[in-house]
Assembly symmetry: C2
Homo-oligomer: 221 residues x 2
DNA sequence: GTATTTTATTTGGTCAACCAAATTTTATTT
DNA sequence: AAATAAAATTTGGTTGACCAAATAAAATAC
């Protein structure tokens, strides 16, 4: 009666997509295992199953690579995840650092129709609460052109469009200093000593570490 | 990483609750197996596990009975199911016969807080789209006093409060003849021959079979 | 180019949730 | 009370998703 296999499979595909997307390097079994926090033997077994379903390819150098079919499935999960996140924040008043865990559950609800209706109910949002773009029904996702605040020119009006890191800690930090997606910001100065960035934000001067500024993604000008 | 055991457990508890509630007779292993559409061996095994967790009791005559703890859990699932159904109908414009399958998935999302927020978002509905009452956080559920339309007195203004049967077929039939929860109705005549019921509904005269009328639950007067 | 480390793979498990078929127990006829 | 039917239980499986530990292969260091 009950089949929750898709849960697991979907997590593999989603994780693969995210690793490939970062593409700092090729995704191998170890990398995927670490990301999923699963034993390499387990992951190897599953990757072979996914390969049998034509969802992933295993290249000659053992790199694991999503096929078009796999990528489409991964994007469908990401789409669901992000749409649910918008719902949680916009309609149920969750804070942006509280929604990830819930969305991880909700993204596995099986119904394309439900997601479509939810999307319409939310007014077809383009991005999730962290500024990440929401793929459309066909898995098309608009890349939003951004740059880290650390690379942005001085004295220009910028808008915070997304985050380079959506960890709970960073989100809480941003809450604390009152920064959120969509805020206007302007780089006043970059300190030579430690590359910290002093910005003008809501009439206040605010100094951010290089680390923090590097994870604030603003419009490319 | 992944544990979906609760899915299965929750379905057992929910099904047990519903069988006990009907209480046409004692719930034994066979009855539960049939209701869950699972093999009796499987069900026996699981019931013993639930017994170990003090969620069910196994009486001397083999009757399976929810403990208070089990009942509370069952009611929490039913609560989630019904609240999600309201959401689907009220906010996403699903029809009442379309929501059951989706709610069966959504009811397993683990978060009491989410349900509470959803409930508030929906304005604390008292009943689901089929007129079934929604248990509160503590598992308290108001029994709504109703009677089948077949037992109702003639020529009295009645309100349809709930359904005795929420099968897809019955819901579609009601849609077809334009009847929904909350409608006002009045029994004009009961035919001696076949016990069919002729009613006044939205200025129209409508004849319902005894079967159909028996599944329309109206306010007890 | 050998030694060492890292990565991949194999082997032999576990656990939860399911099953069919055989057997035992309990209930119901007659 | 014996025969029969029904329900409960046992037995011996399967499958999916996981693991640890051993081994093999590949990459890197020296």
């Amino acid at each position: 009666m009950q089949h929750f296999s898709h849960h697991s499979e979907e997590n593999y595909l989603k994780t693969l997509y995210k690793l490939e997307d970062k593409q700092t390097k090729k995704v191998n079994n170890i990398a995927l295992s670490k990301s999923l926090e699963l034993n390499p033997a387990t992951v190897l077994e599953m990757v072979r199953k996914l390969n049998g379903k034509k969802l992933v390819e295993i290249l000659a150098d053992k790199t694991i690579h999503l096929t078009e079919k796999g990528k489409k499935k991964a994007l469908a999960i990401i789409r669901k995840h992000r749409i649910w996140e918008v719902f949680l924040v916009e309609k149920l008043n969750y804070k942006w650092n509280e929604v990830h865990h819930l969305a991880e559950q909700l993204e596995h609800i099986e119904s394309d129709d439900l997601v479509k209706r939810l999307e319409a109910f939310l007014g077809f949002p383009a991005v999730d609460p962290h500024g990440d773009p929401i793929p459309d029904e066909n898995g098309k996702m608009k890349k939003i052109k951004t740059q880290p605040l650390t690379d942005a020119p001085l004295k220009k009006k910028l808008t915070i469009l997304a985050l380079g890191n959506s960890s709970d800690e960073f989100l809480k930090y941003l809450d604390k200093i009152g920064i959120t997606i969509g805020d206007k910001i302007e780089v006043a100065e970059v300190e030579d000593f430690d590359n910290s960035v002093t910005v003008l934000h809501k009439k206040n001067s605010l100094t951010l570490s290089n680390e923090a500024a590097g994870n604030l993604l603003v419009n490319a000008v």
